[in-house]
C-alpha cells in the first residue's frame, strides 16, 4: 500500500517551498512587473533575509556572531528590514543612472553576498551554513503530516495577506505612479512626480519582501547554506515571474507553482533516467531547459500566461488590451 501520509507530507512541504519562492516572486513583481526595475540579485536579497533571521533567532554558537534566540516574528521583521535597507542602498547609488546599471549593481551585490556567506565564518558559518534555526510549530515536529500542514497554513496565510496588500497598492494612487514611471518617466516627472523616489520605494519594498521569503525559507527548513542562494535561484524566480505573467500578482504565484512543478518533475525524471555518474550533467540539462523556457517566453509570449491587467480602476476607461 502506498504511503499516503508520507506523500501528503511531501506535498505539503513541496507546496510550502513553492509558496516561499512565490513570495520572492511577488517582491520581484513589485520591482520589475510594476516599476520596471531590473534586479538580478534576487538570491542575494533572499540570502540577506535568511541569514539575518537565522542569526537573530538561533541559539548562540561559539565563534559565530549573533545567536540571540529572539522570537521568529522578530527574526522575520529583521530579515525584511535588512534586505530592504540593502536594497535601498543599492537603489540610492544606481537608480539615478541608466537602467542597466541597476541590473549590474544587483548582480554584483549578489556576488558579494555569496562571497561573504562563504568566507566570513564568524558571521555566516562559512560553507557549512547555519543549522538549528528555530522552526515554527516545532512542538509538532514528531508528527510530520500535522507539522507540514501547519507550516503550509502559515505560509499560505502570509501569501494571501501579501497578495491582498500588494493588490491594494497596485490600485492605489501610489501604484499608478509606479506604472506611470515605468511607462513614461518624462511624463510622470512633468506631472510633478519624483520618479527616483517612487522607484526607490518600490525597489526597497520589493527587496524587503524577498528578505521575508529568505527568512521563511531559513525557518521552515531549519538549515541554510550558501549553495541555496546562488545565481540559479535568482534565475528560477525570474522564470517564475515571466512565465506566470509579469505585472500580475496572481501570475507571479501561478508561475511559481508551475515552474516549481516543472523543476521538481524534471529533477525526478533526470534522477531516474540518468546513471549516477551523469547526474551532474543531467542537472545542468535542467538549467538549459529553464533558460530556454525563460528566453522563449520573453520572445514568444512576453505577457506570460496571465499578463498584466491594463485596467485597474473602475474609474478608468475600458480595457484597451
Amino acid at each position: 500500500m502506498p504511503d499516503f501520509v508520507g506523500m501528503l507530507a511531501y506535498a505539503s512541504v513541496f507546496l510550502t517551498m513553492t509558496l516561499i519562492n512565490g513570495i520572492a516572486c511577488l517582491g520581484l513583481n513589485l520591482q520589475w512587473g510594476q516599476t520596471g526595475l531590473f534586479n538580478v540579485g534576487v538570491a542575494g536579497f533572499m540570502a540577506i533575509g535568511a541569514y539575518t533571521s537565522a542569526l537573530l533567532t538561533s541559539a548562540a554558537v561559539d565563534g559565530r556572531f549573533g545567536g540571540y534566540g529572539l522570537p521568529i516574528v522578530v527574526g522575520l521583521l529583521g530579515a525584511m528590514i535588512a534586505a530592504g535597507l540593502i536594497c535601498a542602498l543599492i537603489g540610492v547609488i544606481t537608480l539615478r543612472l541608466r537602467a542597466d546599471y541597476l541590473a549590474i549593481a544587483t548582480f554584483g551585490m549578489a556576488v558579494g553576498v555569496q562571497l561573504t556567506l562563504r568566507n566570513e565564518q564568524f558571521l555566516t558559518g562559512g560553507t557549512f551554513g547555519i543549522s538549528f534555526i528555530p522552526r515554527p510549530f516545532a512542538i509538532l515536529a514528531d508528527r510530520p503530516l500535522l507539522f507540514g500542514f501547519a507550516n503550509l497554513a502559515l505560509v499560505g496565510a502570509l501569501v494571501v495577506a501579501l497578495v491582498v496588500i500588494l493588490e491594494r497598492l497596485v490600485r492605489s494612487p501610489w501604484g499608478r505612479v509606479l506604472r506611470a514611471v515605468r511607462e513614461d518617466e518624462r511624463a510622470a516627472r512633468a506631472l510633478g512626480k519624483n520618479a527616483t523616489r517612487y522607484r526607490l520605494q518600490a525597489f526597497a519594498l520589493g527587496g524587503a519582501i524577498m528578505g521575508l521569503a529568505g527568512g521563511l525559507e531559513a525557518h521552515l527548513i531549519g538549515f541554510i547554506a550558501p549553495d541555496a542562494f546562488d545565481s540559479s535561484l535568482t534565475f528560477l524566480i525570474w522564470t517564475m515571474l515571466i512565465v506566470g505573467g509579469s505585472g500580475n500578482n496572481l501570475g507571479a504565484l501561478l508561475g511559481a507553482v508551475l515552474v516549481s512543478v516543472i523543476w521538481s518533475a524534471s529533477g525526478l525524471a533526470t534522477g531516474v533516467l540518468f546513471a549516477p555518474e551523469d547526474q551532474a550533467r543531467a542537472a545542468a540539462l535542467r538549467n538549459v531547459a529553464i533558460g530556454v523556457l525563460l528566453a522563449a517566453t520573453i520572445v514568444l509570449r512576453p505577457r506570460g500566461l496571465i499578463g498584466e491587467r491594463l485596467r485597474v480602476s473602475r474609474h478608468a476607461g475600458e480595457d484597451t488590451a
Binding site: 541590473a103 549593481a105 545542468a284
Partner: protein, 302 residues
C-alpha cells in the same frame, strides 16, 4: 612581498580588457548590458579546445611548441577559427533572441533575455563537457625575470602583446575606417544613421561578430593561464562590467584602461588580503565608479 602580483594583474587585466571592449561595444550599439558576454568567453575557449585537438591529430608537427611558447600552431589556428565561430554564435543568439526584442523596442527586456541565455549557454557547456577542468597548455614554462622581483613566462608576454594589439586594431577600426564611422553613427543615433544611408542591420551583425571574436580572444587568454571550466565566463562577468563602466561605456580605450585597473586591483587584493576576496574587488570598483564618476574615466555624459 615581491612585485610579481603586478605582472599577474597585467595579464588578468588584458583578458578583462578584451571582454570589456565587447561589453562596451554591445552597450553603445545595441544599448543593453549583455549578461551572456561571459558565456561568449567560455564558449570561445571551449571551441578553441575542441578545434585544436583534431588539428593536432591531423598534422602532428603542428603540436610542437612554437619557439619558447608552450603551445603549437594547432592552438593558434584553432584560436583564430574559434574567434570566427564565437562571432557567429553571437550573431545567431542575436537572430533568435535579441533581434525580435529590438524590433519590439524592448531594450531592458533584452538584458533579461541575455540573463536567461547566459544560464542556458553555461549549463549547456556543463552538459557537453562536464564541470571537469581542461587545459590548453599543461607545459611548465621557465619564467624570465624582467624586473626586480617580477618574472613572466614567454606565453604571458605574447598574450599581453596580443591583447594590446587587438584593442589597438579595434580602436583604429572604429576611428579610422568607414565601417567604424558607420558603427559609431549607429551608436549615436540609429534613426539618423539609417537616414544617412547606413545599413543598420549590417552594422549590428558586424558588432556582434566583433563582440564574439573579442570574447573568444579573452577566453583563449584565460584558458592559457588557468583552468578551463564552464563557469570561467560567468566568474569574470562582474570584472568585465566594472572595467567597462570604469573606463566609460562606449569607449574602447576606456575598456583597456578599465580592464588593466580592475586586473591590477584584483591582483593587489589577492596579494594583501587573500584570494577569497578577488571577486569582491570588481564590486567595490563598480560601486565606487557609480558613486563618484558614473560616466567613467574616458566616457562622455549620456
Amino acid at each position: 612581498m615581491t612585485l610579481q602580483f603586478l605582472a599577474d594583474g597585467l595579464i588578468a587585466g588584458s583578458a578583462i580588457a578584451l571582454g570589456a571592449a565587447g561589453v562596451t561595444l554591445t552597450y553603445s550599439i545595441m544599448r543593453f548590458a549583455n549578461f551572456a558576454q561571459g558565456e561568449f568567453i567560455s564558449w570561445g575557449c571551449y571551441l578553441t579546445l575542441l578545434i585544436a585537438g583534431p588539428i593536432g591529430a591531423g598534422f602532428a608537427s603542428s603540436v610542437d611548441a612554437i619557439g619558447p611558447l608552450s603551445v603549437g600552431w594547432n592552438v593558434v589556428l584553432a584560436g583564430v577559427l574559434a574567434m570566427a565561430l564565437t562571432g557567429v554564435l553571437a550573431i545567431a543568439l542575436d537572430a533568435i533572441l535579441f533581434r525580435p526584442l529590438r524590433e519590439r523596442g524592448a531594450t531592458i527586456t533584452a538584458v533579461m533575455a541575455s540573463f536567461g541565455a547566459s544560464m542556458a549557454l553555461r549549463a549547456l557547456l556543463e552538459v557537453l563537457f562536464s564541470s571537469h577542468p581542461f587545459y590548453l597548455s599543461r607545459e611548465l614554462q621557465m619564467a624570465i625575470p624582467v624586473a626586480p622581483g617580477i618574472r613572466v613566462t614567454p606565453d604571458q608576454m605574447v598574450l599581453v602583446g596580443f591583447a594590446a594589439g587587438l584593442i589597438a586594431c579595434l580602436h583604429l577600426l572604429l576611428t579610422r575606417t568607414g565601417i567604424g564611422r558607420a558603427l559609431r553613427a549607429v551608436g549615436e543615433n540609429p534613426a539618423l544613421a539609417r537616414v544617412a544611408g547606413i545599413d543598420v542591420g549590417r552594422v549590428i551583425l558586424l558588432t556582434w561578430f566583433l563582440v564574439g571574436a573579442l570574447a573568444c580572444a579573452s577566453g583563449v587568454m584565460m584558458g592559457m593561464v588557468m583552468q578551463i571550466r564552464p563557469t570561467m565566463g560567468s566568474d569574470i562577468l562582474l570584472p568585465l562590467f566594472a572595467a567597462a563602466i570604469l573606463g566609460g561605456v562606449g569607449s574602447v580605450p576606456g575598456a583597456l584602461v578599465g580592464g588593466l585597473i580592475v586586473g591590477l586591483a584584483e591582483a593587489t587584493t589577492v596579494e594583501l588580503l587573500g584570494s577569497q576576496w578577488r571577486a569582491a574587488v570588481a564590486f567595490v570598483v563598480l560601486i565606487s565608479v557609480l558613486l563618484i564618476r558614473p560616466t567613467g574615466l574616458l566616457g562622455r555624459a549620456p
